[in-house]
């Protein structure tokens, strides 16, 4: 991989996406061994710079780095100088001066990773920026689909829920369309922006129609903080209209798989029996996330001019 940073799927070529997925397959082998650690990135340092709460993604990156023999620092924002008013770039430059090779950043504002990438020599990895992108989530989703279905091209993938506020949805739309899948967005008009059709997706405001004969269903998390803002009446009503139940799941292909980026709201966007059912690959996604993040760190670690 030639680029220094992983900022979004939008910025990646099809070849780069496939290289990451192929490399992740090799790392999945490593994760299946007794000794789950390789010396590939010995002596490097990664910094988790999370301005938004996250347990899963941060832990996944931390473990991925450790499996590659890279040291990890978790820069926790509430106790840092950020609360003393230090600017974002100053914080990042300070981290770089400590010798960080990777800065893994999550921020509530879109574009922050792109801004940092310009000022830092270290590789910047976007772990979620505002409503823009969450590239490693889309990569691990594509990896999981490829692993389960043997391919991505030609598949029909339904993305159900709050597309409007979802960086996971956006990254997945870029990834799926680049890799030749058909993406369907399903949800109420309040949660699916009209302009999104320009990305080459189909929009369904009726879940039963949208789920017909799909190969993959990606359920998005309903962010509880959106409740009471007029996007949907109540979580109960959301579940009634848009929740993935086993009845609705039966509309998809017989061999369809169900995905969720986590953490799940059971009984809101997904029924418990579906989440734990035989078609669910939700926990596989978590394991694959490690392999994919190892691949990203490994590939970005080439020497940059």
């Amino acid at each position: 991989m030639i680029k220094k940073d992983l900022l979004g799927i939008k910025e990646l070529t099809v070849e780069e996406i496939n290289l990451i997925l192929d490399t992740a397959a090799g790392f999945k082998d490593v994760l299946g061994r007794d000794i789950k650690k390789v010396p590939a990135l010995r002596g490097r340092t990664a910094v988790n710079l999370f301005f938004e709460p996250s347990t899963r993604t941060r832990t996944s990156f931390e473990l991925a780095a450790k499996r590659l023999s890279t040291d990890v620092i978790n820069f926790s924002v509430p106790t840092s100088s950020v609360v003393k008013g230090e600017s974002l770039i100053d914080t990042a430059l300070t981290i770089q001066a400590l010798g960080a090779d990777f800065v893994i950043i999550r921020h509530s504002s879109s574009g922050v990773p792109h801004l940092l990438a310009k000022s830092l020599r270290a590789s910047v990895i976007n772990a979620g920026d505002g409503m823009n992108e969450h590239p490693t989530q889309a990569l691990l989703d594509s990896f999981t689909i490829r692993e389960k279905k043997g391919r991505i091209e030609g598949l029909t993938v339904a993305i159900v829920g709050d597309v409007c506020h979802s960086r996971v949805a956006k990254s997945n739309i870029y990834a799926l369309t680049k890799l030749g899948a058909r993406a369907r967005l399903i949800g109420p008009p309040t949660l699916i922006p009209e302009e999104i059709v320009s990305l080459g997706v189909e929009v369904f405001h009726n879940i039963d129609e949208g789920l017909k004969a799909v190969d993959v269903i990606m359920v998005l998390r309903i962010q509880m903080e959106r409740q009471g803002k007029g996007f949907f009446p109540s979580t109960e009503e959301y579940f009634k209209n848009w929740g993935l139940t086993s009845d609705r799941l039966s509309l998809a292909k017989d061999d369809a798989i169900v995905m969720h980026p986590g953490p799940m709201n059971r009984g809101v966007e997904i029924a418990s029996d579906v989440a734990d059912g035989p078609k669910s690959v939700i926990l596989k996604q978590v394991t694959n996330g490690l392999a994919v993040r190892m691949a990203v760190l490994y590939l970005l670690a080439g020497v940059h001019e």
Binding site: M1, I2, D22, T23, A25, G26, F27, D29, V30, R33, D34, I35, K37, V38, P39, A40, L41, G43, L68, A295, Y298, L299, A301, G302, V303, E305
Partner: protein, 185 residues
């Protein structure tokens, strides 16, 4: 002007001889597992297993080992090497591992392969089988089974072409221009 060093028959005879040597030294296939280094070594390992089966009538497990994550030049390369699958299906602990590679050169690949193997378990022993030994060792490592010793200059490249890669079986010597940074290992 590549110079042909070995043809199809030569390679076949060499592998038959190495298969015999492996069986002689280890008194049969009892405790053996062949592990090829990705990618050329994997093909050679499979061929050796076939030869051993022809001679002894018994199957020897064959695995593939990717050494990309154990290389010693990861911090100085511009492009990261491709990570391929590692599939060592046999138990490693207490087994005699025959490590197989196509070209034996600086010995750095073999060092990496030994480290990778050790992370999979504790073999009873590791033996090394190579099709070509082209010299220029940079580490104190030697092979147990050598197909052919070919003295080379550093600006030459030994290329093992195999049917498994869609080519005609042969080994050729090429002259490489520029520095010797593109080793065949």
């Amino acid at each position: 002007m590549p110079k042909e060093l070995l043809n199809k028959q030569d390679i076949d005879r060499i592998l038959a001889r190495i298969a015999h040597e492996i069986l002689e030294r280890n008194k049969g296939v009892g405790n053996l597992c062949l592990v090829g280094i990705q990618r050329g070594g994997v093909h050679i390992a499979k061929r050796l297993a076939k030869k051993i089966k022809e001679i002894e009538g018994k199957d020897v497990p064959v695995g593939s080992l990717d050494i990309a994550l154990y290389r010693d030049d990861l911090s100085i390369r511009k492009e990261q090497p491709v990570v391929r699958r590692t599939r060592v299906l046999c138990e490693v602990t207490d087994i005699i591992i025959i490590l197989v590679d196509d070209v034996f050169f600086t010995g750095r690949s073999i060092r990496a392969a030994m480290d990778a193997l050790m992370d999979l378990g504790r073999p009873a022993a590791i033996q090394l089988a190579v099709l070509i030994d082209r010299g220029h060792r940079e580490l104190p490592i030697k092979a147990d089974y050598v197909g052919k010793n070919i003295p080379t200059a550093l600006n030459e490249n030994v290329e093992v072409q195999l049917e498994e890669e869609g080519l005609e079986d042969k080994v050729v010597l090429n002259l490489v221009t520029g520095d010797s940074s593109t080793s065949s290992e």
